[in-house]
Amino acid sequence: MGKIAVIAREDVAALFRWAGVRDSFSVNTEEEARELLYKLAKDPKYTLIIVGASIAEKIVRAIELITAEQEYPLIITIPERGVTPSKRIDPLRELLRRALGIEIK
């Protein structure tokens, strides 16, 4: 049994915290976000980490590294109010390009 964690902008994190995802965090700086993500990724109790688009945008490299190296936790980027994740932060894109030789739209 694994837990879910959320790293997002304060309004989104508060919403998830209220709805029952207790480990919902908001961060202020890029550094903080990266540190928190690595800390959560090291913790085996988490199966899924949901990252808000505004934060994911800043820590693309860290997300890619964790996705490439670890099976769990899985990291999913979600849109926040007004911010949709860009194509750049899809950690599977590079893998698929190499494996299939196609670009995923």
Binding site: A14, W18, A19, R22, L48, I76, P79, R81, R98, L100
Partner: protein
Amino acid sequence: MAELGVRVTRMELFKLKKRLEVADRARQLLEEKRKILAMELMKYVDKIRELRENVNRSLADLYDALVDAEMLMGKSVVRGLLIPSADRFEIEESSRSTIGISIPVLKLKMTKGFMATNPYSFITTSTKLDEIAGKVDDVLISVVELAEAQATVKRLAEELDKVKRRVNALERIVIPKIQRRIKYIEMRLEEMEREDMFRLKRIKTCLERRRRTGV
């Protein structure tokens, strides 16, 4: 090209021919596996696109409901009501096997209902708030589905990469190397046969000369 360390014997030739057969068969099997994996992967890529749209849609719904609630009750009231509650989600991880590859399976479990963990007054709040809670559940369900599909794609793509590398190694290195050795041994054997032939002819003429001269 001289092949170093190759024993030029018929036995070695026989062994190499057997190895070539095995390598070629392995290449064919891996090639088939590669095709199946690529097909499976393409299917999942389409599925991910769909699931990502689901996540986006359910989140848009959630944010819309939040805006509605804020309009009805006031932003600060809603913010004030959003107090942290107890954890009520867990993910059960297991795995299944497709074409010999272990694929993760995730299942979202809601350990408690929303009302059990969030006792707030029904009189002072709008039903919109309950709606939001339900929508968060929808969001998490769709996010977990997406996570499972993404993890599957990752496993399949990694496997496909591995199979591709093996096919390439067989096709470009192992098989040509065996073929080169076979050719080399065959040529050397022919050469040896010719030498033998020549030697025999020489001996024959020598013997004939001796018989004629009577020495």
